[in-house]
């Protein structure tokens, strides 16, 4: 399933499956490790950023995840789950530990825009601020709404919706049954819709326009 094929060129490494690349890297092939890092660092960083809402925590956690991979290579067993479940699981553990240490579990209140602008602005950097202003506002609202969700709902939204993990994989990351992920996602989406609707209604009232749902 995940056989070791040493001596692959850098070009060929792009097509190598994650678990195979990981084995090569843990056998000491630096090119494989670099390839694996470049393939996964963005996902881990974004996951950590959405999970914690802090860019500095996200960077630290990204670093810790890869250090953990180097130090505990033998713990990964492809028969027990995908590589993505494994790395997201490590990231989640680091995040929970870090957030527990810094006591930042409380959901961010989505009402106060000024207070919440900081971390969410880091998530979205528009290339054409004037043209994309509305789109950008909607995305900012969405990120704020996600950040304001309780942790158990936030993590399923981030894993299933933003990181595109299957229910089964997300369940393995979180360590709960698949049905729990499904029901939490259902509830999380309802909460997100509720928050976005509220925000749209508030904006419409401010601008003197009738509410128009949450359609972007």
């Amino acid at each position: 399933m995940c056989g070791l094929r040493p001596g692959k060129s850098d070009m060929a490494l792009e097509d190598v499956a994650d678990c195979e690349l990981f084995k090569l890297a843990m056998a000491g092939e630096e090119s494989a490790f670099v390839s694996l890092y470049r393939r996964w660092q963005g996902n881990i960083y974004r996951f950590s950023l959405r999970f914690s809402g802090s860019a500095s925590i996200a960077e630290d956690v990204t670093q810790e995840v890869f250090l953990s991979l180097i130090d505990s290579a033998s713990r990964f067993n492809p028969a027990l789950g995908s590589f993505s479940s494994y790395v997201y699981g490590i990231a989640r553990n680091h995040l929970l530990r870090r957030m527990s240490r810094e006591r930042i579990f409380a959901p961010i209140a989505e009402n106060s825009e000024e207070e919440n602008r900081g971390p969410h602005e880091e998530m979205s950097r528009p290339s054409d601020p004037l043209g994309d202003i509305t789109q950008q506002e909607i995305k900012d609202s969405l990120h704020r709404a996600i950040a304001a969700l309780p942790l158990r709902y936030r993590e399923v939204v981030v894993l299933c919706e933003l990181e595109e993990l299957k229910y089964e994989e997300a369940a393995r990351v979180i360590g709960c049954p698949e049905g729990t992920v499904r029901s939490r996602l259902h509830r999380a989406r309802s909460l997100l819709l509720h928050k976005l609707r509220k925000k749209t209604r508030k904006d419409s009232q401010t601008a003197g326009i009738a509410p128009a749902g949450c359609t972007p």
């Binding site: 996200a58 990204t62 130090d71 880091e122 998530m123 979205s124 919706e161 259902h186 609707r197 949450c214």
Partner: protein, 269 residues
């Protein structure tokens, strides 16, 4: 389908994740006939589109993270690559350490066994040793003496006396013959003698053979003949040390054995 069932399926329906085609069609039928559920599905689909759009947001970790990770990876591989370790020096120190440890262990075992036999052992053992020593004293080296029938045939413990008659009892403790043809007329080289119970041999994965020089009196504690004329000279032996540092077996070398000659020369230096 009622609104409650529709609500249970709406997440998967909006995310295009409803695998059951029949259920999907029934749910869509229901949304066509129920305006409330239709609006709900529209909202859910809008949310799915919005989330899909937001997937790419967030950027990447900065370059210094990659640098730090890469240096950690390199340092890890330098640490564990055998070529990076100063092997020759370590090997020399290790073998010196093992030699000293083995010599100490053997000396302690020898002295303890000797004391046990001479001072606290049963009368039979004491008599045995005394008989051995007397026999060795009575039979001078290189003297052709007919084998004493008492030692060979009376069922007593075989006392190995120096004799050219190659007594049948000239066996090592392991039970194998000590190659009498190749042995000199007095003390003999032996096969390996176990120092630990046989059952413990299964735990031996690897070991080292170390040559040591021991007081000649140690021979008596293993039931081997002692040449009184050479009592002041040490006897050479090879000790098998297992991977856990425990002395597992010993074999004594005869004085004419080239391994003994080299040991003696080495010890003089």
């Amino acid at each position: 389908m009622n609104c409650q069932t529709f609500e249970a399926l709406i997440t998967d329906l909006a995310r295009d994740g409803l695998q059951d085609e029949t259920m999907r069609l029934r749910a869509l039928d229901h949304s066509g006939s129920c305006s409330r559920c239709a609006a709900r599905l529209a909202d859910e689909r809008a949310l799915t589109a919005l989330l899909k759009h937001a997937r790419a947001d967030g950027g990447d970790a900065s370059a210094h993270v990659e640098t730090a990770i890469l240096s950690a990876f390199r340092s890890r591989w330098i640490r564990v690559t055998p070529a990076a370790a100063p092997q020759p020096v370590r090997r020399t120190l290790s073998s010196a350490y093992w030699s000293i440890a083995a010599a100490l262990v053997i000396t302690v075992i020898g002295v303890a066994a000797f004391r046990l036999l001479h001072f606290s052992g049963p009368d039979r053992n004491r008599g045995e040793i005394r008989a051995r020593n007397e026999a060795a004293r009575e039979v001078p080296m290189q003297t052709v003496t007919p084998p004493a029938p008492a030692t060979a045939g009376e069922g007593s413990a075989p006392v190995q006396v120096a004799s050219s008659a190659k007594p049948a009892a000239a066996k090592s403790v392991t039970g194998r013959p000590a190659h009498p043809e190749s042995q000199p007329a007095d003390e003999m080289g032996t096969d390996f003698i176990l120092l630990t119970p046989e059952s413990e041999l299964f735990s031996i994965e690897s070991g080292q053979l170390i040559r040591v020089l021991l007081p000649r009196t140690v021979l008596a504690s293993y039931g081997l003949p002692v040449n009184q004329e050479r009592l002041s000279k040490p006897v050479a032996a090879q000790v098998l040390i297992s991977q856990d540092g425990v002395a597992r077996a010993i074999r004594f070398l005869s004085d004419s054995d080239p391994r003994f000659v080299s040991s003696a020369m080495h010890s003089k230096r």
